[in-house]
């Protein structure tokens, strides 16, 4: 098992955000996490990546509890093993696409030469034409593809995505979805996707729902029904 989150508890003040949360994620699998806004999904990703410490619980990565590591090791772990994708892309505005993409590779003391990876990524994500452009001049979909290139430049085993399609139109969101499937199948990556987007929930191997601090497995069928129900309500 690549990632195993066990009995995480977290309170902010008196508010219980995560109540005994546990889940597992394996390589080549997509996990979708849904839940109301403010229920603690982003917080959970923060814990998984070692950026936030829970009040109690364990996060095993390759059978090692990352919460026990020091800051250096956690930082190295984030750099090497995790790729992040955000709703608002979070590209460095003063860097070109190229610089943004290779940034995680430059963080290491002795950076690898990532030219080869970069070239294949550029093909893979179809961002050749915008490689020297600055983020402000790019469309949402282009920005997200650059952000994904940045997330996978170091060949991580795990992608943590926080509403990756939340700010994209339908067709672009579709592209990103297909890209995630590709990453799962071809690169054998493990993807943990926090999302409201039903298309992303549909491609997930497992669907988890966070409510009142409790994380529950959803059966895939229920999902589709639920989403359809929401849709019909909205239409009215």
């Amino acid at each position: 098992m690549l990632l195993s989150v066990e009995n995480i508890n977290l309170k902010f003040g008196k508010r219980i955000i995560l109540n005994n949360v546990s889940f597992k994620a394996d390589t080549g699998k997509i996990i979708a996490i849904t839940g109301k806004s403010g229920c603690g999904k982003t917080t959970l990703l923060g814990i998984v990546s070692g950026l936030l410490n829970p009040d109690s619980g364990k996060v095993f990565y390759n059978n090692k509890n990352i919460l026990r590591w020091g800051d250096f090791r956690k930082s190295h772990f984030r750099n090497k093993e995790i790729g992040f994708v955000f709703q608002f892309f979070n590209l460095m505005p003063d860097m070109s696409s190229y610089q943004n993409i290779i940034f995680p590779a430059l963080i290491r003391l002795f950076p690898r030469n990532v030219k080869k990876e970069l070239n294949s990524l550029v093909e893979y994500l179809n961002i050749k034409d915008i490689i020297n452009h600055y983020p402000t001049t790019l469309s949402g979909g282009e920005r997200q593809r650059v952000a994904i290139a940045r997330a996978i430049i170091n060949k991580p085993k795990m992608i943590l995505a926080d509403e990756p399609t939340g700010n994209l139109d339908n067709t672009t969101a579709e592209d990103i979805k297909n890209l995630f499937i590709k990453l799962k199948k071809e690169e054998n990556m493990s993807l943990i996707i926090v999302t409201h987007d039903k298309r992303l929930v549909e491609i997930a191997d497992e669907h988890l729902h966070l409510e009142n601090g409790i994380l529950k497995k959803q059966s895939k069928q229920k999902d589709t029904k639920k989403i359809k129900a929401v849709k019909t309500v909205k239409k009215k």
């Binding site: 090497k80 950076p111 990532v114």
Partner: protein, 425 residues
């Protein structure tokens, strides 16, 4: 390999743009450092002035005896100058408390110095005072040969070399170095009474330049006291009148330091002003304390103001760049690295200002070392030197440290930014 170079360039560029941004906010360091430079060189010059001043350098068993109500040695006799009369000097010499008594003497004669160079004669009236050879002998080896002999040895102030050479230049004579001027023959003419009167008496002597000095602050020449005494005796023998010999100061070495307070009391009864080593050091350390406390006060204020402004502006920078910092953390920067990056940046800015402050301070010193004697003639003998490279080094270190320390707390904030909040939007 060239990817590593790319990384270095990348980091350099990243830091460079940030440094440029921080430069404006740290401007206050410039004042701090330039004032510091001025303070250091002022302190140095006062210290070296005090140390180098022959007559302020007393041994523990020595006292300086001045006329009543006089604080400084008056080498030159002016109307109204106070003096220790010869009779008082003799009384002191006869006191059993002292091993030796020496002084700086004056005579009621005017002195004209005459010199000849390539057939041209120059005459000049200059002030004169006598110094006991035994006094000089104990202080510097060079003056061992300063005895009452013929030709009469005279010691001239260093600045007279330049003066002479200026005269020579007017007659198209090349400047003559100090070493070649030593032994230069001169004629001394002592005169008393007004010109063209009965009272006018003149005495001529062959003399030679013995040496030049910058440790005795006299705008004239120094001859052996014994020589002045000789003239005075001659004048008395011929005219039955005093030549106006007197002492501007006496230096006395006591036999028993423990008895010093009683001796001082006795001398005070004679109406004299006594300074011991303690008095002199107290006087100078008082001056130092004033300089120090004033400067440290100013430095403290500058320091406070600069560090507050640096602190403040870096805090703003942290806020503006919080998104970037948290993103860096997410992408794998360690806390320490963000902390160091920030501190490195502020230290670089500090170093830059250390350099600038050093040069600004020296520029101010250069300006004022010319101006100060014009405003305050009493300070004219203090030469304020520009500070050297060791101060430059100190400036850079201090400035970097001030900047880095002021940025420390903002840097800690930067490394601890609430990551997921900051990148959400």
């Amino acid at each position: 390999m060239n990817f590593i170079i790319y990384k270095i360039l990348f980091i350099a560029k990243d830091n460079f743009t940030n440094i440029i941004r921080s430069v404006v906010s740290s401007f206050g360091i410039l004042f701090l450092i330039s004032f510091f430079v001025i303070y250091i060189s002022l302190r140095d010059s006062v210290t070296s002035y005090v140390k180098g001043n022959l007559f302020d350098n007393l041994a523990s068993d020595e006292i300086k005896i001045l006329p009543k109500n006089t604080k400084e040695i008056e080498f030159v006799k002016r109307p109204g100058s106070r003096a220790i009369p010869l009779s008082t000097a003799n009384t002191i010499r006869k006191m059993p408390d002292f091993i030796s008594v020496h002084g700086v003497s004056r005579i009621g004669f005017t002195l004209r110095v005459e010199g000849e160079m390539l057939g041209k004669t120059k005459r000049m009236y200059v002030p004169v005072c006598g110094v006991d050879r035994d006094f000089l002998k104990t202080r510097t080896n060079k003056w061992r040969s300063f005895t009452n002999r013929r030709p009469v040895p005279i010691i001239a102030p260093k600045f007279s070399i330049d003066m002479l050479n200026n005269y020579f230049a007017m007659d198209n004579i090349d400047p003559i170095p100090e070493s070649e001027l030593i032994g230069f023959p001169l004629t001394l003419t002592f005169a008393t009474g007004a010109r063209n009167t009965e009272e006018r008496k003149t005495y001529d002597f062959e003399a030679e330049v013995h040496s030049f000095t910058d440790v005795i602050n006299i705008p004239g020449v120094i001859v052996p006291t014994d020589f002045l005494k000789e003239i005075a005796q001659k004048y008395y023998a011929e005219n039955r009148k005093s030549a106006g010999m007197e002492y501007a100061v006496l230096f006395a070495k006591v036999k028993d330091v423990d008895k010093l307070p009683q001796t001082v009391e006795e001398l005070k009864k004679l109406g004299l002003n006594i300074q011991s080593q303690k008095d002199v050091t107290e006087k100078t350390s008082k001056a130092m304390r004033i300089i120090d406390s004033f400067s440290l006060g100013v430095i403290a204020i500058f320091f406070l103001l600069t560090s507050i402004s640096i602190f403040n502006s870096y805090l703003t920078i942290v806020y503006i760049r919080s998104k970037k910092f948290s993103l860096k953390r997410i992408l794998g920067y360690s806390k320490l690295r963000i902390l160091f990056g920030f501190i490195f940046e502020s230290a670089c800015v500090g170093a830059l200002y250390g350099l600038a402050g050093y040069f600004t301070g020296n520029m101010i010193i250069r300006y004022f070392s010319v101006k100060i004697p014009q405003f305050l003639p009493s300070l004219s003998s203090i030469t304020i030197a520009e500070s050297g490279t060791d101060t430059l080094f100190l400036c850079i270190v201090i400035s970097s440290a001030v900047s880095a320390v002021s940025a420390l707390i903002p840097a800690i904030f930067a490394s601890n930014i609430n990551l997921f909040k900051a990148v959400r939007r």
